[in-house]
Each structure stands twice: as C-alpha cells, then as structure tokens.
Amino acid sequence: MTAISCRHIISMDDLSAEDITTILDTAESFKEVNERRIKKLPTLRGRTIINLFLEPSTRTRTSFEIAAKRLSADAINMTGSSSATVKGESLRDTAQTLSAMACDLIVVRHRYAGAPQVIVECMEAHVINGGDGLHQHPTQALLDLFTIRQHAGRLEGLTVGIVGDISHSRVAGSLVPALRKVGATPVLVAPPTLLPARPDILGAEVATSLDEVLPELDISYLLRVQTERAEDMPFPSLREYARFYGMNETRLAAAKPEMLVMHPGPMNRGVEISSAVADSPRAIVLDQVNAGVAVRMAVMYLLLGGEPHGAAA
C-alpha cells in the first residue's frame, strides 16, 4: 500500500521518512505526464479541490491549480479579495461553508500560522498547508527535496546551506525538518539579526559567515530578502547584504564545483543572487518550479486516492 500515513499535510511533522519517499517516487511518475503532449490524467475526476488563498500568491496557487487540473479534479480558486473574509466572515465559518459544499481537498494559504489547523478541526475535507504565516510551507520543502534528488541523485549525506532571513521564513520552517528526515544536514547561514531567537530548536547547525561554510555545501539554498519591507530590514543595506550573503560568481568559484544553487522565488537579482548566477546552469530554480506541479499532483493523488484513511486495503 502506497498511501501516506496522514490525512492532512500541515507541517513536515505529519510525514514520515517513508511518506516522503512515497511522495517523491509518485511525483516521478507525474513528472513524465507533465512532459507529454496531453498533460492530463483522469485520476481525480469528480473530485473538488478548493485553493483558499487568503494571502497573495501567484506561483504557489498556479502550481496547485495546474496540478489539480492535470488530475482532472475540479479546481476552484478563492482569494482573499474575492472571499467573504473581506465581509468579516471568520475563518471557521468560511471553512464550514466550504465543507457544506462537499469539497474533497482544501489548500490553504494564510498569513497566520496555525490557520490550516483551524480548518482541519472544522471540516471533513483533506487539508494541505500552502503556507501559513512564519510556520511552514510543506509542499515547497517536498518539491525542493525532489529537485535535489533529481540533480544530486540522492538526499542522504548532503549538506544544504539555507541562507538568509531564517526567522521570517516558512520555507526554512519546512525545509529544515524535511532535510533532517531524509538524512541530509541543514546549515542555517544568516546574520544574527535574521536568525530566530533559538535556532538550536530547529536542530540545524548555524553559521554567520557564508564564506566560511561555503566549501562544505552541496547546495546553497538562498531565501528571498523581503525588499518590500526595506525600511525595517534588520541589516544596514541591500548592498551590504549582497556583499556578505549574496551568491555571486566569485562565491560560486570558491564552492564545490558541483554545488547547486536553489531559490524558492521570486528572486531579487543583485541581492541574494547575482544575475549571472541566476542564469547559470548551476542554478536550478526553474527545475524547482517544474517539480512543484509534479509533487503537488503526488500529494493530491495520495491524499484523495484510496478508501477514507485507515480502511485502505
């Protein structure tokens, strides 16, 4: 039985190492579908998937929507501005309303951590966390693992430097436990002001100098600097950030020759990543986007296929 051990994917804690392998292996098959002329499977015909995105997002929402449609599910997008939340409806009421319409799966993005859990508690449908506050973004971590495995051929034993705004990153929130589960070593690289108060709780090594750890890294995973909040950034300037933590050709030359560069997007060229690096073959950012559709198809298939959980043969 390939089903995964959970009904919902809210955080990486829901998934065991075997679940992760099952998801990545299933995604391999869906990747092949995405290379066909007819990119459509009848698998989830008649199932309804709602993308409840109460925080702006285009790439994640589009990726989930494409994944649902390629599996023939009916995908409905609800965004913050089009939903009744602007009329003051509570999250609980929104969830119960959607539940009454008998949808099978809800993908939730919300600005507050824990919102997907609230939805789990008040409806029958399966729930996937599409990013909640500063907490987690599990499908991002899964697609990152998929991309790493695709390029490096393995996950175990790799050292992955996660560089940048760790304290405000739900991407790091999921990627760190995900890497630990598959036997890779996450190293958090950031100035002290961008590290959470207790980085040790995450269970990752911490470094404040990128240049010091660079030669050990198999992957440099660059987090986005939130330039839209430039006025209260906890470092002197974007230029200074780029100088100490930006990936550029000089740093690329100092790293292992096979070191790959990843980024969850959208990239700030010239800040966390130079344009030359972003366009080099060592940057596998577009492969991450490509993997996103296959991985999301895999989690939808594994959550919605089979008998209601537990009864599966």
């Binding site: 098959s29 579908v33 007819i38 698998t43 199932r47 296929g305 089979g306």
Partner: protein
C-alpha cells in the same frame, strides 16, 4: 486470505511455445513488423512485451520499439484503493499512426485494458490497438477481447491466476491456478 496451488496450467516450455506462436501471429496479422510497437503493462506485461520483441527480432531481424505503461492513474477505482506501487511509464516512441500491441500477463475483467487504452490515447492517436495476453481467464466486465492469447484458462471468480516470469520473479516461467484455503 491464504491461497494454495490448485493446478499448474503452463510450464516454462508451454510459455515459450505460446510466446513464439503469438510473435508469429502478430507478424501475420500485421503483415510484418514495419508499423508495430509493443507496450507492456507493468510489471509482467512489460516483460512479456520485451520477450515478444526478442522473438520478433529473431524471426524478422528487426527490433520493434517497446514501451512500458503504468495504468495506476487511469484506474476506475482510484477512489477505493491506491496502486500498491507506481512505476514509471516509458513510451520512447511516437504512438501516432502506429499499430500498438498492448501486452499483459492475465486478461480478467478487462478494466486494466480499458485503462491502458485510455492511457495510450493520451500519447496520440494510434492506427490500431491490439491486445496480446499470456492467459485469458474469462469473467469480463467490459466488452473487451484479446487478439492474441497464449492459453484460455477457465477459472472460477474466486480463484487466482499466478504468472511467474524469469526476469520479474527470478523463478522458471509458470502459470498456476491458486485456490483459497478454506477457513483462512
């Protein structure tokens, strides 16, 4: 549920002879192998396709294209149960205007073949789809029949047909009927 062998209906030599005959039949029906491609349904159908391709090559001196197909995502019972294992579909040729011979070890309800035909159609529009199976055990639930059959094996619905292949199972080729052990 436990099962025990009720009868062996084909041994290695019988499987061998059946495959040789099917290879000849395919070539006869298609007037050679110029436009043929074989697509095996994983896992034993894939080995069957590979072996038929070897025989066709021995007879005609031409290697026909072979692909493998996993029908997990096309099954009509996805909502009830997931496939135990999803394998990679690999069809390394254009099915458009080809004569595609689907291969599977056992033909039973016909639902797998229905799913496989839908899957093939998603790759293009073949000239024809034909079906070769090692064993036809009856009990069809859909209007589907095989063009090439190794052996017709009458069974009861409760019995199982077990096909074992050298390549997939690491034992000598054999086809057996298994029956339920009572009280298990």
């Amino acid at each position: 549920m436990e099962y025990r062998t009720k009868a062996e209906v084909m041994d290695g030599a019988a499987v061998d002879r059946a495959l040789t005959r099917i290879a000849h039949e395919i070539l006869e029906a298609n007037k050679g192998c110029g436009n043929i491609a074989l697509v095996g349904i994983v896992t034993r159908g894939a080995e069957l396709a590979e072996r038929l391709a070897e025989r066709i090559e021995r007879i005609e001196g031409v290697r026909v294209p072979v692909g493998t197909l996993d029908i997990s995502f096309y099954r009509d019972d996805v909502a009830k149960r997931l496939s135990p294992e999803v394998h990679r579909t690999d069809i390394p040729f254009d099915v458009e205007d080809r004569d595609v011979v689907l291969t599977d070890d056992v033909l039973f309800t016909g639902r797998t073949i229905r799913a496989a035909m839908d899957a093939i159609m998603d790759y293009g529009r073949p000239c024809s789809i034909q079906l070769a199976v090692l064993v036809d055990r009856g009990h069809r639930e859909l209007p589907i029949r095989a063009d090439y059959v190794g052996k017709n094996v009458p069974t009861s619905r409760k019995e199982r047909v077990r096909v074992r292949f050298r390549g997939t199972d690491g034992v000598d080729d054999a086809v057996e009927i298994l029956e339920e052990v009572e009280g298990s």
